[in-house]
């Protein structure tokens, strides 16, 4: 099984279900066939969380695809998903880099699936880079100024 980072730990990828594109997923919802608990959906860049049809909370995993690591739309998508109360796994897939992990985690991404040979065991070190942040984020809902 491929390894990935989940909640800051290196783990085996235990996901056994299928991952549908947003279009496929929405078609299923529209056709009245509620997707089962083993169906994840993948948001590509340009596909906002608000485009997901049906009950967000029933989705076990939402993958956010990064076409290139400089495309930062996914950061806002993750944040919006958490703002909408989504509590399942948000997984970064595609082209992102180790040095973005801490930002992505703060935006609500909980799992990172590298496609470029990055060793997850090395990459987890980046979560220790900073011990404090100014802004409110998904991991720390109170901004620093409310805790100072």
């Amino acid at each position: 099984m491929p390894r990935l980072i989940r909640n800051g730990e290196v783990v085996e990828d235990s996901w056994q279900g299928r991952t549908l594109s947003l279009d496929e997923y929405n078609k299923q919802v529209e056709s009245g066939a509620a997707p089962s608990g083993d169906t994840a959906v993948q948001l590509d860049a340009g596909q906002s969380p608000e485009d997901i049809q049906g009950d967000l909370h029933a989705i076990p995993m939402i993958a956010i695809h990064f076409p290139v690591f400089t495309d930062g739309r996914g950061f806002s998508y993750a944040r919006e998903l958490r703002q909408r109360g989504y509590t399942g796994e948000i997984r970064a897939v595609g082209h992102f880099m180790r040095d973005q992990l801490a930002y992505l985690a703060r935006c609500g991404v909980t799992a990172f699936q590298f496609d470029d040979g990055t060793d997850p065991a090395d990459a987890v070190a980046c979560f220790r880079d900073f011990s404090e942040h100014y802004q409110a984020d998904v991991l720390q809902p109170e901004p620093l100024f409310r805790r100072r």
Binding site: F69, F75, M97, A102, L104, D129, F130, Y134, A136, F145
Partner: protein, 554 residues
């Protein structure tokens, strides 16, 4: 000025160590060039024509004398002994070694400085009025708000990979000295109908290839909502801004494409979801920020016109009087004066300052100005709080340092990017053009007779020299491998901001002083009494200037 607490210091220290490790991994071949690019950019490091360039953040232009001494030392130890003040009030070093940058950043951190987000597609250094806190026309000190924005924007997790760079400026006075209309977001502290100050929010301004004056998104925003509102604008931009073409990626293009009303509607929708959330500012935080920007211990002094020593010095020394009139300004506290130090002496690259000058200015700041120095977006320095009686002594010291050129606000106080001599983006050199113009117009009587004129020079479309908002703008262009210069007229950076219009076909470098002279003599002939260049241009339009400049010689 703002002083770091243990947490601010820790964050900056951790950044240094993070970048040290990233540099090590890059040099070891573990990070490819393409991935290292945004990492080094967000730590201020460009790779330029001749060497790397490091842009050091000077948040909203405020420096302590201790910090300025550190910049002098860094420029000596790691560079060639000088720095360049940029139009974002930052300082650029032109010759550091990539391998040395972590050590430079560590040196900066030791005096509460950094180079965070001075480059890259992220939120850049927030700029404001260089006369903040001392200007007579100020409604409120903008610096606490700038510091609040600095902290909010530093390592904002969501906005580090925006479609393009993002610049915010704050104005809190009657006259706009921060060019807020030329920023991605411009904020102006304005009173509402009840007289309560809040933020007027402009968005979608910017220079570069497609210059646009910012549009009003909100006429008045209660102060406590500042961060949630900014966050909403950025979130809309991050999701909808174009990423397929870097020349169409700034927020100005998005605002234009959507239309201001649709853009505003979208922002308000995002805002509704986070308004009154945890990022809403607390009174305690605003008070904390304000506590760093209280008045220094001013003495009770007579008004300047009752200061006998100063008045006799002004009467006896014409050169001093000239400098006093051009390079110093009214201060809100009686007996004090705001002093601008001109970095626009002919023969020196505009905005450049040597290590020795930096150290000397730091000493002068300690002696005369409560140990504080400011950088300006016009690429000069300011000592904001000088007693009237001390002005003559200060002026003599500045003369010896070459920092007393009495030209602030006049033609030779031009804004100029580093251009093709340094910058790998530039189409053309800008410094030699600036120098040739400064040489041509060195006669002070003529200079003063021309009145206040903003002349801004950029070496390329990226418009770092703000040529679009110069009364006279000069843009370096490339024509089949040759450097040419396009002239525009009628730009302006104030509250009645305007984008300059192109005069006509571009010119060779050698022709530029003559071209400028023809433009100016046209103005002198057409002006009415007391009419400034911009007023005349706005009254008579482009045609008379065009006719004169392009007239065939017989």
């Amino acid at each position: 000025m703002y002083v770091y607490d243990e947490i601010d210091q820790r964050i900056v220290n951790e950044r240094v160590e993070q970048y040290r490790d990233q540099t090590r991994r890059y040099l070891a071949g573990e990070i490819p060039d393409a991935q290292f690019l945004p990492i080094r950019l967000q730590n201020g490091l460009y790779v330029q024509r001749l060497a790397p360039m490091l842009r050091i953040a000077i948040p909203y232009g405020m420096l302590s004398s201790r910090q300025l001494r550190k910049l002098a030392q860094i420029s000596r130890d790691f560079d060639k002994g000088y720095g360049h003040i940029s139009t974002r009030q930052n300082m650029q070093l032109n010759w550091p070694r990539l391998e040395d940058v972590p050590d430079i950043l560590a040196e900066l951190a030791s005096v509460q400085m950094h180079a965070i987000q001075t480059s890259g597609n992220c939120i850049r250094n927030t700029t404001t009025d260089q006369f903040a806190g001392v200007a007579v026309d100020e409604r409120e000190d903008p610096r606490p708000w700038c510091e609040i924005i600095r902290q909010w924007s530093t390592f904002h997790p969501e906005f580090a990979f925006l479609p393009r760079k993002f610049k915010i400026a704050v104005c809190a006075s009657e006259t706009d000295r921060a060019a807020i209309h030329a920023h991605d977001i411009g904020l102006e502290l304005v009173p509402n109908a009840e007289g309560v100050l809040g933020f007027r929010v402009l968005a979608g301004g910017g220079l570069g290839r497609t210059p646009v004056i910012g549009s009003e998104i909100r006429p008045w925003l209660e102060k406590k909502h500042l961060l949630t509102y900014l966050e909403s604008i950025l979130r809309v931009y991050n999701q909808l801004g174009r990423r397929d073409n870097k020349y169409k990626a700034r927020i100005k293009i998005l605002v234009k494409a959507m239309g201001v009303d649709a853009f505003r509607e979208r922002v308000e929708k995002e805002w509704a979801a986070i308004k009154d959330g945890p990022a809403t500012l607390t009174d305690a935080e605003v008070e904390r920020a304000k506590s760093f920007f209280t008045s220094p211990p001013y003495r009770t002094l007579p008004a300047l016109d009752e200061c006998a020593a100063l008045q006799s010095q002004l009467a006896e020394n014409q050169a001093f009087a000239r400098w006093f009139q051009r390079n110093t300004l009214d201060h809100r506290v009686p007996g004090y004066r705001i002093v601008s130090l001109s970095l626009k002496a002919t023969g020196y690259a505009p905005g450049d300052i040597t290590d020795e000058q930096m150290e000397a200015v730091a000493d002068l700041a300690d002696q005369y100005a409560f140990g504080e120095v400011r950088t300006t977006h016009e690429q000069n320095l300011v000592l904001a709080d000088v007693e009237g009686e001390q002005l003559f002594a200060l002026w003599q010291r500045l003369l010896g340092l070459g920092l007393a050129t009495p030209n602030i606000g006049y033609l030779t106080d031009l804004i100029c990017c580093p251009g093709g001599d340094y910058c790998s983006l530039a189409n053309a050199k800008s410094i030699p053009v600036a120098e040739a113009i400064q040489e041509r117009f060195e006669n002070l009587d003529y200079l003063y007779d021309l009145g206040p004129i903003d002349l801004n020079i950029s070496g390329c479309m990226n418009a770092c020299g703000h040529h679009h908002i110069g009364h006279i703008g000069i843009l370096g262009v490339d024509k089949k491998g040759q450097e040419f210069y396009q002239v525009s007229l009628g730009g302006h950076q104030g509250k009645d901001a305007s984008i300059g219009k192109i005069l006509g076909p571009s010119f060779e470098q050698d022709a530029m002083p003559d071209v400028i002279e023809k433009i100016l003599s046209t103005y002198v002939e057409l002006r009415t009494d007391e009419e400034h260049f911009l007023d005349t241009y706005r009254r008579v339009g482009m045609e008379p200037f065009k006719e004169r400049v392009y007239a065939q010689t017989h």
